[in-house]
């Protein structure tokens, strides 16, 4: 018996189908595809039956129906008679607005705090440390609630205001108001001038780089750019006869009580929901960015600093020319995912009813019952945003990456 066993064990490897990795691979993949197909088919089938029973017509026709609800903040013209599709578009633009403003502010706070964390000054570095640890260990939703319900409810009521900056900006419970530029005829020249200035800056920067590579002479690109971008539109503004004026918000504190407070649609207004959401998002994300920046700067070996000092560079050029360019390579990939997180987290707007994509979509969902379509739109849009952002940051990362032989 044992002889038999040994024989079978020693038998030359037969071309058994069971042991052929290729065949096994194909087999498992076929099993996977069949299983997924079966699950998918069941889901589609069940959904069809369930929708039929609930009398919900699937499809995109509902997007053309009248929405019938107002949206408190919109970047494009929108009224209650607009369609569901337009409402979702408004929500999408608001999501983009929050994401862009949030990313901008979070990056600034994050870099400041991250560098402060490495400061030689004990008080400053401790403060930055406490900021990071306190903010990132408390849920974002709680922070949004805090800013919305606790901080922004403590500002003056509708009929009072706090004013700053020569009485041109005001804050009260209805939001943050300031002057709004109103463009008149001929204002488009200012825009054209701005575009020309930007193009000129790019050309000058390239010319300056080539000249420096060829001759070693430097050119004050930064100050030229500042001068061009501010100066050219300013000159155009005066030449075309000042085709712009500021519309200041109108505050009424006399007359019938119901009319008191800021007049609607006069001047520029940021609603409190927007302020709370952007504040919470940027402060929360900034605490993560600060850690990324700190880690990135620490990843540049100390020898680089010493070498720069040995070359006679002072503290500021050392940071600007030696440390930061190298640190950026470490910083950019995790920074990308923080930007994506901020964009995705902006969906928490629904908790304080800021009309972003999810919030507007939720209202549409409740009115129409088109759950699958709405959730599909949400997921498609956020996925696209994620993929676009990461594609852009990958491109930027490749440009910044170390060029090796």
């Amino acid at each position: 018996m044992s002889v038999m066993e040994q024989d079978s064990a020693r038998a030359p490897a037969r071309a058994s189908l069971f042991n052929d990795p290729k065949v096994r691979g194909i087999f498992f993949q076929v099993v996977l595809v069949v299983a997924l197909g079966y699950v998918g088919y069941n889901i589609v089938d069940n959904t069809r039956i369930n929708l039929e029973q609930q009398n919900i017509a699937s499809g995109w026709g509902f997007l053309n129906n009248t929405a019938g609800f107002g949206i408190i903040q919109s970047l494009v013209s929108y009224s209650e008679t607009s369609s569901y599709g337009q409402a979702l578009y408004v929500g999408f633009l608001n999501t983009l607005l929050v994401a862009i403003v949030g990313i901008f502010v979070a990056t600034i706070i994050g870099f400041v705090v991250g560098i402060a964390r490495l400061s030689d000054n004990w008080v400053i570095s401790r403060l930055a440390y406490c900021y990071v640890e306190l903010i990132r260990n408390v849920p974002l939703l709680l922070q949004i609630f805090f800013w919305y319900f606790a901080v922004l409810r403590a500002v003056p009521g509708k009929r009072e205001k706090w004013s700053f900056f020569f009485d041109s900006f005001h804050l009260n419970i209805a939001g943050f108001r300031g002057p709004k530029p109103i463009w008149e005829d001929g204002a488009s020249f200012i825009g054209i001038a701005l575009i020309i200035a930007i193009v000129a800056c790019i050309v000058i920067a390239q010319w300056a780089r080539k000249r420096q590579e060829a001759t070693g002479q430097q050119f004050p690109v930064f100050w030229t750019a500042v001068g061009l971008i501010i100066g050219l539109p300013l000159i155009t503004y005066f030449v075309t006869g000042m085709p712009m004026h500021l519309e200041h918000p109108v505050f009424v504190d006399t007359g019938p009580r119901i009319r008191q407070g800021f007049q609607l649609n006069v001047g520029f207004n940021l609603i409190p929901e927007f302020l709370a959401l952007t504040a919470a998002l940027s402060i929360y994300t900034a605490s993560f960015i600060a850690e990324i920046v700190r880690a990135g700067i620490q990843a540049v070996s100390h020898g680089q600093t010493e070498a720069a000092h040995a070359l006679g560079l002072r503290q500021s050029p050392t940071l600007r020319l030696v440390i930061i360019p190298q640190a950026m390579r470490v910083i950019i990939p995790p920074l990308t995912s923080q930007y994506l997180n901020l964009t995705k987290n902006s969906s928490l707007a629904v908790a304080i009813a800021f009309p972003d994509l999810v919030s507007v979509g939720g209202t549409v969902l409740n009115q129409t019952g088109q759950a699958i379509e709405i959730i599909g739109i949400w997921m498609a849009i956020y996925l696209t945003l994620s993929l676009v952002t990461s594609a852009f940051m990958n491109w930027y990362n490749q440009r910044m990456a170390l060029v090796e032989r």
């Binding site: 069940n46 709680l142 956020y382 996925l383």
Partner: protein, 442 residues
């Protein structure tokens, strides 16, 4: 004139003088770190002002002006006539609501069950988290395998009715195992020892499932507590812990799938991972609470908590997969090649060589994922469940405790609880990172 010459020869060493006051002790430290230059001094002053500006009102609010005891809102209201005074935290309100914040609306008579679950959780987690404790394997099995079932039975009351189809399904698993073993023996030419792992895998799974089902469906005399009355920290912990424990095996499978050589498996894993990572959790929660019921056949209904758990698990599995993938990529290729040279097949290689090393490496990453998930559990309040934050939010509607500072106090309490948990875990993650780092120094 005689010249008097005086010599002074020191026969002892002069005593060592202490270093100048300005370079040692507190003053020296301050000179060096706080006032070394003008700009540094300015920074220090600004820093101290900012700190004072934040800390002073906080201490005033949380301690000095706070009300610690009281029966209702009267205790926390400013006394008649004095406008604006006594606007401190109303801790009496937190005290009155404390059971609700911890247990939700869980029946008071049954709270001991929740307490046992909390105690078991702590008893099993603490030795698991301490690297010096022995019996790690047994501990993990108890924590990841036995504890969830015991907790489930204790919290819900067990006595779940299980359809006969489920039992047939379990029997089917065992039967499939036996069938595969038989085919392997007859057609594949393997002996009994060669098919033993297959038999153990399938039949063992069936037996374990049968034991679990039997335990869950047994009537242990515990009254049933439905999940809608759960709330507070209980829901937060249930979602976070279940999410992480259930997403770990799924995440490992996805990570292996993403690094697989089989194109379809890899494609499916990549699509799954990138999809869940690309969408916000809130849409996932909406999906699980609104869309999931549409996917199920008629008559099958899921508990709301279970639906949320499924969504959270799939979501965190994608993140877990990326963490595990990082660990797999950190294992040198020689380990894979060594294992293959020893004649190990894929699963033994993964189970015996690669995963033990890779998972050890990614413990900090897993803890960080857990921290993220723990904070994200607050989102369930948007789909109408009462986790800790939801419970606090809903307590604001109670007129008995409505005071101007009720909201601030509630949020402060929530912030403290979340901070304690998350900060503790992040410290642990740093500790593990340091500990693990030493093992990989060359």
């Amino acid at each position: 004139m005689a010249k008097t010459e005086t010599f002074q020869i020191r026969t002892e060493e002069a005593p060592l003088l202490p270093a100048p006051v300005s370079t040692t002790g507190l003053i020296g430290w301050m000179r060096q770190n706080l006032f070394s230059s003008i700009s540094n001094t300015v920074l220090t002053v600004i820093g101290v002002i900012i700190a004072y500006w934040i800390i002073a009102p906080f201490i005033q609010f949380a301690f000095i002006d706070a009300i610690w005891t009281g029966d209702d809102r009267k205790a926390c209201l400013p006394p008649e006539g004095s406008e604006g005074e006594h606007m401190g935290a109303c801790w009496a309100y937190v005290e009155a609501y404390f059971p609700q914040f911890i247990y939700g609306r869980y029946p008071t008579d049954e709270i001991w069950r929740v307490n046992i679950v909390y105690a078991l959780f702590a008893l099993l987690l603490v030795p698991l988290a301490m690297p010096s404790m022995p019996l790690k394997k047994l501990n993990s099995i108890l924590f990841l395998g036995v504890f969830p079932i015991v907790a489930f039975v204790l919290l819900t009351g067990g006595n779940i009715s299980i359809s006969s189809y489920t039992w047939i399904f379990v029997a089917l698993i065992a039967a499939v195992g036996v069938a595969i073993a038989a085919i392997l023996m007859v057609a594949g030419g393997r002996d009994f020892n060669g098919v033993k792992p297959v038999l153990i895998g399938f039949v063992g799974t069936a037996v374990v499932l049968a034991i679990i089902l039997g335990f869950v469906s047994a009537n242990l005399g515990l009254s049933t507590v439905d999940t809608p009355v759960w709330g507070g920290l209980l829901v937060t912990l249930v979602i976070a812990v279940t999410g992480i424990v259930a997403s770990l095996p799924l995440g490992i499978a996805l990570a292996l799938g993403r690094r697989s050589t089989m194109p379809i498996v890899r494609l499916v894993s990549v699509i799954f991972i990138e999809f869940w990572r690309g969408v916000p959790l809130i849409t996932v929660l909406f999906m699980s609470s609104v869309m999931l019921p549409l996917f199920l056949p008629e008559g099958v209904t899921f508990d709301k908590l279970l639906r949320v758990l499924i969504g959270v698990t799939l979501f965190s599995a994608a993140y877990m997969a990326e963490v595990v993938r990082g660990g797999l990529q950190a294992i040198p290729k020689g380990q894979y090649e060594g294992a293959m040279a020893l004649g190990l097949r894929f699963w033994p290689m993964m189970y015996l060589i690669i995963l033990p090393q890779a998972l050890k490496l990614v413990i900090p990453g897993i803890v960080n994922t857990f921290i993220g998930l723990f904070k994200d559990t607050t989102l369930v309040l948007i789909v109408g469940m009462f986790d800790l934050l939801g419970q606090i939010q809903s307590s604001f509607t109670d007129p008995t405790w409505s005071t101007p500072t009720q909201g601030h106090t509630g949020y402060l309490f929530a912030a403290i609880v979340f901070f304690v948990f998350c900060f503790g875990m992040s410290r642990y993650s740093i500790f593990m990172e340091r500990r693990l780092h030493t093992g990989h120094k060359r």
